[in-house]
């Protein structure tokens, strides 16, 4: 099964366009972008978007789409393609290959006219509205959007190359998949969950189920012809309860996975012995054949060193009318997705949702229109959705809609809904959802 099955890859061909000739032009544009000050078009305002994940790709696309090409967009990512975390737990049980998770920027460049630069940004000068590229030099703009996801906070002894998080997809996902594949049938998998807020609230519990399913089937515990002791999945949660779809995950943990999953709340990770794969927590030490540390999270470090995350905070504070930074002097910098600090859940679907509000706000700023008209406030919404595989062919879901609350000036949930039971039908829906989320963000 391929999550990217139905993608409109023939679009260029449909327009009867010579693909090769066109790529030639685009390559020219990319070349230009390498010499930043050449790029500056006098007529069009320019937006720099940092990070081409769910938030960044979507804001770049919609800025071009909605402006009819009247805004120049420069998209910067350290990688030449994005590897989706969404659906990445399905690589662990090998329902998907790593290549299924790779999302390219071809459509953003060719269809929408986004200029892509492959580089890392090391600093944002908020008041000066410019970004510093690791490759050298500063690039300036009229607005900047940062959508760079998460970084991990330091944990003493944690060596990520031995003890993966697999919470930023790519090599980490592959490493964890291979470690699980090499585990003994009755082995012991230990995982830690950080304090909320973290990326993808149901994700860790979904992972516990996925791994329990893998080990359960392999050992024969699921299917009823087990020999010897059951495999174990030890879940060490720093939070005092399951953070999302609690009823669903409880039912899975205490029902079909009761012989496999052991769930411990209030287990704060204090240190890691990466050689012997031991999680040292506030409730004791736990060693495993595989240790998966989903470490404590915060906004990208360079947002902090750029002054966009105040000292005592972990996420960048923003005004949800347009995701402009609330740090004084930095309101031309927008932060969306996992790095921003509003009360909404950190999900790819939500990053896409915020990106549209942000794109709309930027276009309004360029047109000299206010963000806070009564009509806009009454129609300011975002939403989130996560599908969670519970077994190798069944899934549950969680979805929520948020609306602007003028009293608190925050986005507030107007509806949170979750599946009453996991099902095969929802497992299929998960792929249609991912196809559309990926396409709405990247194609």
């Amino acid at each position: 099964m391929n999550g990217k099955s139905a993608r409109p890859s023939n679009a260029e061909a449909d327009r009867g366009l010579s693909r090769r000739g066109f790529i030639g032009h685009v390559a020219g544009a990319i070349g230009l972008a390498a010499a930043p000050n050449v790029l500056r078009a006098a007529a069009n305002p320019r937006v720099i978007v940092i990070g081409a994940g769910f938030g960044g790709a979507t804001v770049a696309k919609y800025l071009r789409h909605w402006s009819g090409g009247a805004v120049d967009v420069v998209l910067i990512d350290r990688s030449s393609r994005h590897i989706s975390c969404v659906m990445s737990n399905l690589v662990l049980n090998q329902r998907l290959q790593m290549s299924d998770l790779a999302l390219g920027f071809t459509d953003l460049v060719q269809r929408y006219g986004v200029t892509f630069i492959q580089d890392s940004v090391d600093e944002i000068d908020g008041p000066g509205i410019r970004v510093k590229l690791r490759g050298g030099g500063w690039l300036s703009a009229d607005r900047i959007v940062a959508a760079t996801g998460i970084n991990f906070r330091n944990v003493p002894g944690w060596d990520k190359s031995a003890v993966p998080h697999a919470w930023i997809a790519g090599g980490q996902t592959r490493l964890l998949r291979d470690q699980i594949a090499a585990m003994p049938d009755n082995g012991r998998f230990v995982m830690t969950i950080p304090k909320s807020p973290y990326r993808c609230p149901p994700g860790p519990y979904e992972r516990a189920c996925t791994v329990a399913d893998i080990l359960g089937r392999r050992s024969g515990i699921i299917g009823g012809n087990a020999i010897g002791a059951p495999p174990k999945v030890i879940v060490l949660d720093e939070n005092d309860h399951i953070q999302a779809e609690e009823a669903t995950f409880r039912r899975a943990f205490e029902g079909m996975y009761r012989n496999i999953i052991e769930y411990y709340p209030n287990a704060k990770l204090q240190a890691v012995d990466s050689v012997h794969r031991v999680a040292q927590t506030s409730i004791g030490d736990f060693d495993g054949d595989v240790l998966n540390v989903i470490g404590p999270q915060q906004a990208s470090w360079f947002l902090k060193t750029s002054g966009l995350v105040p000292t005592s905070q972990r996420w960048a504070p923003v005004d949800v009318l347009g995701y402009e930074s609330t740090v004084s002097g930095c309101d031309a910098v927008h932060i969306i997705g996992d790095s921003q600090g509003s009360s909404q859940p950190k999900s790819g679907h939500m990053a896409n949702s915020q990106a549209k509000v942000c794109a709309d706000a930027i276009l309004r700023r360029f047109a000299g229109q206010p963000l806070n008209t009564a009509e806009r406030l009454a129609n300011l919404t975002t939403n989130s959705a996560c599908f969670s595989p519970i077994t190798y062919d069944q899934a549950s879901y969680l979805t929520a809609v948020y609306a602007y609350n003028p009293a608190t000036r925050a986005m507030q949930a107007t509806k949170v809904g979750e599946a009453e039971r996991w099902s095969r039908e929802q497992y299929r829906q998960m792929f249609t959802w991912a196809d559309n989320l990926w396409a709405d963000s990247f194609n």
Binding site: G69, R111, Y112, S353, T399, E420
Partner: protein, 108 residues
Amino acid sequence: MNRKLFCGINAALLVMAPMGEAAADPSIERLIASQCAQCHGTDGRSVGDIQKLAGEETYEKLMEMLFELRAENIMEHQAQGYTPEQLRNIANYYQNLPERARNGGGGQ
């Protein structure tokens, strides 16, 4: 000179994939309607087997879902997050969009 080349590319894109709708004026309806696109496709033109919204009349169905006593699928949960007024704005927007972008493109 370089700038001209860069603008030339934009012009080429415009010729090839003209705007389906007027987009110079960012509209309120457009923003709230775009919040359905994660699941139903950009401009309501979906990929795979989920209902497209572009060109569809959806208001009555959405109101039905809003007032469903017990939401039984992800769409009913979604509908129940919006007010009737918001759903009307969304339905209006999609109903007036062509089923396909002109010239078959979904781009600009």
